[in-house]
Structures are given as C-alpha cells and as structure tokens.
C-alpha cells in the first residue's frame, strides 16, 4: 500500500461516523422536551394541598379518605390536606400518608408522569424510572 492512499474501508468508516453524528443531532432536536408541565403540576398540587380542608372533599370520590374518617385515623377534618399528611408522617405512619396521597392524586397524571412526595424521607412515589425530574420544595406546618 502506498502512503496517503485512500481505501474503501476508510470511506465506509467515515460515512458511518458522519451518519451517526447526523442521527444524534436529529434525535437531540426531536427529543428536547420542556419540563414546564411538571413544574406547574407540582406547584398546583402544593397549592391545592395547602388551601383545601379535608371537610371540603367529596367523600364519595375519595373512598380512602372517607374510610380514614370512619376508622378515626383522621380526627380533625378542619385540617388542610398537607397538615394531615404531616400529621401522618409525624406519627411515623407513612403507610396511611401514602394511601391518603394516592387517593387524592390517583388519576390526575397520565402514564407519562409520576409523582413522589417527601417530607424527610420519601413517603409516596408512583414512578420507578425517572428520566427527567422536577423537584419543588415548600415550608409546611402541621
């Protein structure tokens, strides 16, 4: 082989590299997604949970909440949703806190989205795989 000659194997490798770069650029353009929807989901849930009292909920829609009231796991329906979650968590009753949150949020998110709640530890989560994550924090009292 003479020095500086160009062989078909080199050409093949070059074109493969070229196509790979084009495909990755194309995929980057196609797959670049905004996280605004997730941001507003979390903000709105914080707002609703902080504003709405348990006594305002329609118990025929939220069966678990109704059961908790009947079973006296929820004693004060004048508490807001977030205050009740904190009460459960302070009593180290994450299981009821998770069931409470699930009852309230079930059906609100389509399959593309998951939701998780943390106080000190994670107390509720629906998604096992997280490709893009938006976390919002608020100071709550209860």
């Amino acid at each position: 082989m003479k020095k500086g000659f160009f062989f078909s194997l080199d050409g093949f490798m070059a074109i493969t590299l070229f196509i790979l770069i084009l495909v990755s650029m194309y995929l980057f353009f196609i797959n670049s997604r905004s996280l605004d929807q997730q941001y507003y989901f979390s903000e709105d849930l914080f707002d609703v949970f902080s504003d709405v009292k348990i006594s305002e909920l329609d118990y025929s829609t939220y069966g678990t909440v109704f059961d908790f009231i009947v079973d006296r796991k929820i004693n004060d329906t004048d508490l807001t949703i977030s205050e009740q979650i904190i009460d459960f968590a302070l009593a180290e009753n994450n299981e009821d806190a998770a069931a409470f949150i699930q009852d309230l949020t079930n059906g609100l998110f389509d399959n593309r989205f998951g939701v998780a709640f943390e106080l000190q530890d994670e107390i509720y989560s629906t998604a096992s795989e997280r490709n893009a994550l938006v976390a919002r924090r608020r100071l709550l009292s209860g």
Partner: protein, 164 residues
C-alpha cells in the same frame, strides 16, 4: 490497482452521496426548527393563559368594559361567579384581548376518571364558542396544558387547549 483501493471516480460518487444526505439533513433541520419555533410560541402563550386563568384576576365586574385581568381561581377553588362573568364575555373582542393572545383557545375541567365536566360551559368548553368537542378543532398545531384546581369537592384538571 490494489484490492479495496479508492479511486477518483469513487470519491466523486461518494462525495455526491454525502452532499445529498447533508442537504436533506439541513432541510429537515430547518423544517423542524421552524415547527419548533411555532410550537414554542404557542407553548409560551398557553402557559401565560393558564397562569392568568388560575389566578384570582382583577376587577371581574369590569371585564365587560375591557378593564382588569381575567382570573377564575381563588385559593385553588374555581370561583363560579368569575366563571360566569368570563363565559358572558365576547370571545374575540374581550376574552382574547384581556388575556393578551391572538391565538384561539378553549379550556375545560376534567375529573380524575378523565371525563370532561360537561355540565359547565359549552358542553364543558369555555373560550372559543365554536368548539364544543375536541374533534371540532382543526389545526396543524394543537397544544394542551394542564393545571390542577379544586371544584365541587374534587381535585380536577383544568385543561387549556390552544391551536394555530
């Protein structure tokens, strides 16, 4: 000639193929970029409108005169008085102007079972009076943006739909 060696004519053919692929790629990217720009414009407006609708608004009894700012939600709860006042507004001359958009939109409420609450508005829809079904929206670009609100004892979705 050695086996596998690359010649001038091969180079010309190869280069032509690469140039064609490159041109096709550039035109595809330009097309995607233009479409993305349109989508970004609508997306910016849909977020802005959803923020307004989910706020308390300002001077609701003066919306009819073109004053104030449209907002339907007080402390996460849907205010039915404001919703009725909004519904009574002229869509083109008042609603779109007060919300600061030139694009068409509707919004509706959907419960956790995914059912549109048809007892409110025009078969459940507020905004463009020509729309009483999602299938009646004919457009190349249709975007949806969802917010959570509290309505009649339930946490529901307020879905804003905008198109161009």
């Amino acid at each position: 000639m050695k086996r596998g060696q690359f010649w001038y004519s091969d180079f010309v053919i190869g280069f032509s193929i690469l140039a064609i692929i490159g041109l096709l790629f550039v035109s595809a990217m330009v097309d995607i970029s233009l479409r993305n720009q349109d989508t970004r414009d609508i997306f910016g407006e849909i977020i802005s409108i959803s923020n307004n609708l989910r706020s308390s608004g300002y001077l609701p009894y003066e919306w009819q005169d073109g004053n104030g700012r449209i907002g339907l939600i007080d402390s996460s709860r849907v205010n039915f008085t404001k919703l009725t006042l909004f519904q009574d507004l002229d869509y083109t001359k008042k609603s779109k102007v007060l919300l600061g958009t030139t694009k068409d939109f509707v919004f509706y409420f959907e419960n956790k079972q995914g059912m549109r609450l048809v007892e409110y508005g025009n078969n459940g829809f507020f905004g463009d009076p020509a729309i009483n079904d999602m299938n009646s929206i004919k457009a190349d670009t249709i975007l949806k943006f969802t917010r959570f609100v509290f309505l009649n004892g339930q946490i529901v979705k307020m879905v804003v739909v905008m198109w161009e």
